[in-house]
Chain length 225, copies 4
């Protein structure tokens, strides 16, 4: 009787474990712009996220892939999502886009209107939902690291972040509020109110520290249920 | 024998006529921006096109519909084409878009990059082709009526017109080169090189004369085979 | 002896007072853009400032004049300051400019770079100092009334406000921090985070309440020594 | 009698020549943007202009100086003209500015409105006239080398060139129409309608050939009376 119980106890623990061992790892795609394109480099945030998972003994559970292209705005993601995301049958997709939608207003006159941003964002989500893909929405990080809301695009970044929070709420999707995470980090770690050099090299693209910080946030969101 | 011949003669004329009588009129949708939105007004170009067809005794052959919304750019057309165009089962669609794609660069920082303009334009065409809808591509008209290429957006309007000509050629589609038509008209009828007041009231939107001229060009294109 | 001293003490206090009574009123010029152009209207802030001074029995001490032109940026003020300001021999000048320097970046591509903003601002100040004119520097108010730093131009308005604070400090000039005053007022009085309708009609130009609030701030600054 | 006449003839030719030999060379300043900043480099247009003058035996008559700073717009020239031009007591000044006034509209939202362009241009001219400095006005060259008016900024470059032609006419000043010269050259030498690579490396800054061509135009204008 006791042996029997023992056996059952082991089985109850072991079966899920075996099941997990037999499962393929979850395929996770990071879908975004140049920050994500650089994310698969030796010091990029996707590479570092893989290292974090390995350190936690979870590297066999996840397969991380980058799908970032420099200069991409929300409708660029929309235009290439069939080929670059859906065709790869991901289990999880992080959408991390918005910096160029805001930035290109000033740098080339081809930013994205807020209402169009929302429309294309929701069009992307609709296609991911149709495939039952777990989707995590990221607010845009920074264009300039000053912490007193005096970076030129701060107003717009705050506005588009709110739009994403609303989209997440409306669609009952997981939100990773990178905008808040970055600003909180900078308030603690940028005492001289510098516009670059802490998390970014050039106000936008990430330092090694920026990549490490982002990797940590991405992994936390991935492991959150 | 003579009677027989007479009968045949009548039949040859009558059959196509009967066939035509039985057909429903061809549904023609003008798909565009504020110029097209105004086109269905009392003096708008679509209304005037209908009058031209009536004067030629062809009003029963065509049903003209407007699908214009102010401020629309190419990707706005893309986003609403299912509902506003395809759902209405048109036989012919005129695509007349591009002014805001260029203009919004300066007026709100949210114009359309040339390569994205082409991508969405071709995405629209692809969906129309799939339904075997006859599609006529229009180059953008004017932002400013000066004839010496010194209107601020002339360079871009010329560039985007070339892109549309290329799209038409690549896709073997009918082209209505409104940019050329308008500039030719203005070279003959704007001797003082005014920036508005000939075909437009405000450099973009059409005067009664502008609507009449555009109506004529649209009808010519529609009747061209 | 003691009496004599007492007499002198009274005289020292009284003479300036008498002198002031005999003096002509101080000429005060408000130098700015469309908000200031509207300021001399029936409900404008300059008109209301005059009423406030009258209510305090000080209307004979000040002559208020508007020198605002719609659409003006800092270098427009520079270009017209000889004629519109210096020629009128003011005793006090309020400089209230910056909204268009920021706004025109998005609305016409012709905003002012921050470093050029500072250069022209200081060129204006230099000429006013050379005439010993009391100069009061105003930070720009708002483009949008949302209080969570999510109005499109908030980042830039905060940046240019900092530039003006620095100019005031460097030049030892009086600062009227309208940006702070407006945001504080809105945090208390815009609970729904509306983008317009509290102090502005259209995100920029002032409601009656906005004019009254601004008038009060201007008068406080004027009476501050 | 005949000898006497001969003598006079020689004298009439020789005296001005002697006078010229004794004069200091004319100081010529090229006042502009990055193209002019690069103009003093080993292959720059100012260096090459000096070589052309030398080849014609006229190098002792002219002293060529560059006063170009990258990114400069018309009001930058205005702000630094005392120090960089007037203080150097030039005899001749070429004003060659306008590309950034147009370009920065799209690249940073801080271009120059046409009416302000004219105002600052004329303010510069006024100061040069007050010193009796010979002034030569240059129209802006190119942003893109396509010859069919389809470079994005062609409309504006044509517009600002017209403004400069008008300024020259109004002020009775010498015009060097570089815009026309460059476009004529490109029509003959850019058969493939390339956007760069003929006179420019990057649509704006000059190739060696571009510098040589510009040097020739500058020298022709300088030697024109």
């Amino acid at each position: 009787m006791r042996k029997m119980y023992r056996f059952l106890q082991i089985a109850l623990i072991a079966f899920p474990f075996l099941a997990m061992k037999q499962d393929k790892p979850l395929r996770v795609i990071f879908f975004g712009d140049s920050i994500t394109q650089a994310g698969v480099g030796p010091n990029g945030y996707i590479t570092k996220a893989g290292e974090l998972l390995k350190a936690e003994g979870k590297s066999s559970q996840f397969e991380l892939m980058g799908a970032g292209i420099g200069g991409n705005k929300v409708y660029d993601l929309y235009l290439r999502m069939e080929e670059d995301v859906l065709a790869k049958k991901p289990d999880v997709v992080f959408i991390y886009v918005g910096i160029n939608d805001v930035w290109h207003k000033a740098s080339s006159g081809t930013g994205t209107d807020p209402d169009k941003y929302v429309k294309f964002y929701e069009a992307i989500i609709k296609k991911l939902k149709a495939q039952n893909i777990r989707t995590i929405l990221c607010t845009p990080t920074v264009i300039g690291e000053k912490t007193d809301n005096s970076n030129q695009q701060d107003g717009d970044l705050n506005q588009y972040s709110k739009l994403i929070r609303d989209i997440a709420a409306r669609n009952n999707l997981q939100l990773l509020d990178l905008r808040v995470a970055f600003m909180d980090y900078l308030k603690a770690n940028n005492p001289d109110n510098k516009e670059k050099g802490v998390l970014t090299t050039d106000r936008v693209h990430l330092t090694d520290g920026g990549n490490a910080f982002l990797a940590q946030k991405m992994v936390e969101a991935l492991l959150t249920k």
